[in-house]
């Protein structure tokens, strides 16, 4: 009875600031463009991108610490499903600390370029980089290929998808350290280290015949393709914001009410006078491109030129879509490699993050400098810094938001949190048999 009275009172006197939000036709149109999220785009350069067996193999490897040099780190160490597929840290730390924040794996399959600087053009090309980075997993393509070749279940799954593995990989040429469990030596590392020809990994790599090096590169690309197939499943599920947009589309008041008044006001600022959708556009809430938003220098971190070196790296990457490991070198999607260009404004640019599920993966920005979404919104409201590198893009204007408007935008960003992913995607599968 008391509850009924309260409900009646609420009906009669809506709390101040909770009046229904009216949207102009322009705001409504801008909001409709942000939902729903379609499936990720196809990948012509990865023949197994949509193959469930490949996804299963990729998922197994995503959680497999044997790919790291010390056997203690996997992709999931930094891309932890419980932390929004990121790590909760300001900057990533694998074997040692890096200089950039770990991006979430969620929705990576929608991106045109991978990494903060876009130095990879596909998820399968991307996958090989952290495995070999000495600060991340510190492993190598040779170790990866041997781990796959010397584990009976992995080998079977791999060969079913990609054909026979070269015989020499089955020989255990370990680093002499006993493997936990059966005490056999763990496979050693080998990879190109162009700047350090004397590095033990480089020496091991140079010790292989050219034909064998190419065979290892091919296995490594295929492992990347399996990891790609898995990560294509790691996408945002519908969020309250999507219900709200469906309600706007169908003029359904109950669905519109999926967002509270504060989040609705935030949505109006986001898609309206805030201009946020200039870059956070489309259902991904990212333009998949790069911008210099003018963040100031950060003590303890080097100046970071971002996209500028990334362009040269991706064009020169032997694992890119035009390279010999691509399943369709002439694919239309590879045109992006021909047309992308370094320009003065590329200096200090970083990729626009998707905002779907953004509340799950604090802290924020390429160097993780902001602990809360509120700090991010206040940054765009005040633009306090001078760009550490290059120039702030002039698209950005101080939003000069009130405290209440900041809270509204944060409420909107939190309404982008989708349903939980199914549990089976969040851990290593118990077997490699197809699901």
């Amino acid at each position: 009875m008391r509850a009924a009275l309260l409900a009646l009172a609420l009906l009669a006197f809506p709390a101040a600031g909770d009046e229904p939000v009216e949207f102009t036709p322009e705001e409504r149109k801008a909001l409709l463009a942000l939902s729903p999220l379609p499936p990720p785009p196809k990948s012509a350069t990865n023949r197994v991108a949509e193959n469930p067996l490949a996804a299963r193999l990729g998922q197994f490897l995503f959680f497999d610490t044997r790919l790291s040099s010390a056997g203690d780190l996997s992709c999931a160490t930094c891309h932890d499903p419980a932390k929004g597929w990121s790590d909760g840290r300001e900057v990533a730390k694998g074997k040692s600390e890096t200089t950039r924040h770990t991006q979430s794996v969620l929705n990576a399959a929608y991106q045109r370029w991978l990494f903060w600087d876009g130095r990879a053009d596909s998820l399968w090309a991307q996958a090989g980089k952290p495995i070999e980075d000495p600060r991340e997993m510190a492993g190598s393509r040779l170790r990866t290929a041997r781990v796959v070749a010397q584990d009976r279940a992995l080998r079977k799954a791999y060969e079913k998808l990609f054909g026979a593995l070269p015989a020499f990989l089955a020989q255990t040429e370990g680093d002499g350290r006993p493997r936990p469990g059966d005490g056999r030596p763990r496979p050693g590392d080998g990879r190109p280290v162009p700047l350090e020809p004397g590095h033990p990994h480089a020496v091991a790599w140079a010790g292989l015949a050219e034909r064998d090096r190419e065979a290892v590169d091919r296995v490594y690309a295929n492992v990347g393709k399996a990891l790609d197939a898995f990560q294509r499943l790691v996408t945002s599920r519908p969020a309250p914001f999507d219900t709200f947009v469906a309600g706007l589309r169908a003029n359904d008041a109950a669905q519109i009410a999926a967002l509270g008044a504060s989040a609705q006001r935030g949505a109006r600022i986001f898609a309206g006078r805030g201009g946020c959708t200039l870059c956070h556009s489309g259902p991904l809430l990212s333009d998949r491109e790069f911008h210099n938003i003018g963040l100031g220098p950060r003590s303890g971190l080097p100046l970071d030129a971002g996209r500028l070196p990334g362009i040269e790296l991706v064009r020169g990457d032997p694992f890119n879509g035009r390279g010999r490991f691509s399943d369709d070198r002439g694919a239309r999607e590879n045109e992006k490699l021909d047309f992308v260009a370094a320009k003065p404004e590329s200096i200090g640019e970083f990729r626009t993050p998707s905002l779907r599920d953004v509340a799950r993966s604090a802290p924020y920005m390429h160097d993780g400098r902001f602990a809360r979404l509120k700090d991010v919104v206040i940054f765009y409201s005040t633009l306090p810094d001078l760009a550490a590198v290059g120039h702030r893009e002039e698209t950005l204007k101080r939003l000069r938001l009130s405290g209440a408007e900041v809270d509204d935008l944060v409420a909107f960003l939190e309404s982008l949190t989708g349903e939980d992913l199914p549990a089976y995607l969040k851990s290593q599968p118990s077997s490699l048999a197809s699901p």
């Binding site: 200039l278 491109e289 047309f339 260009a341 320009k343 590329s346 002039e394 698209t395």
Partner: protein
């Protein structure tokens, strides 16, 4: 009632098609042609895009044709470059278009990409008998 309306619409459609031509083929939408004249008024650049209309945040290509405005328009100008900017935001594209010169005053620029909605200008650098000039084709991307 519904049949009455249908009959009316059909009759009207038949009358209408009779007025135009006997061809039953559906009309092919004409390409969007954007035109700008050179400073001396002697030549016009006709710009079309593929796809048409210009897609948002996807690659597109531009075709340019030089057309004389008068019988004695003089030597045909040369198109030397194509680029695009958002003047209000003071930035350009993330891509560098590939510029291809064809025969008979036809050109093609491949790989433009408008990554942001709003007001863009496609800039075409032309060399005429009088010197170099830039022609601007305004485009508003929804």
């Amino acid at each position: 009632m519904r049949y009455l309306v249908l009959a009316f619409v059909l009759t009207f459609a038949i009358l209408l098609s009779g007025c135009q031509s006997a061809s039953p083929a559906p009309p092919v939408p004409a390409p969007t042609e954007r035109r700008q004249a050179t400073g001396d008024g002697l030549w016009e650049i006709v710009l079309t895009t593929d796809p048409d209309p210009i897609p948002s945040n996807e690659h597109f290509h531009v075709s340019l044709t030089l057309v004389p405005k008068t019988k004695d328009a003089g030597p045909r100008p040369e198109i030397e470059a194509v680029d695009a900017y958002m003047p209000d935001h003071r930035h350009g594209m993330r891509t560098q278009p590939r510029f291809v010169k064809g025969a008979d005053g036809r050109y093609r620029a491949e790989g433009l990409l408008f990554h942001m909605s709003g007001y863009w200008e496609i800039f075409v650098a032309v060399k005429t008998a009088r010197g170099q000039e830039g022609l601007v084709f305004p485009v508003t991307l929804e």
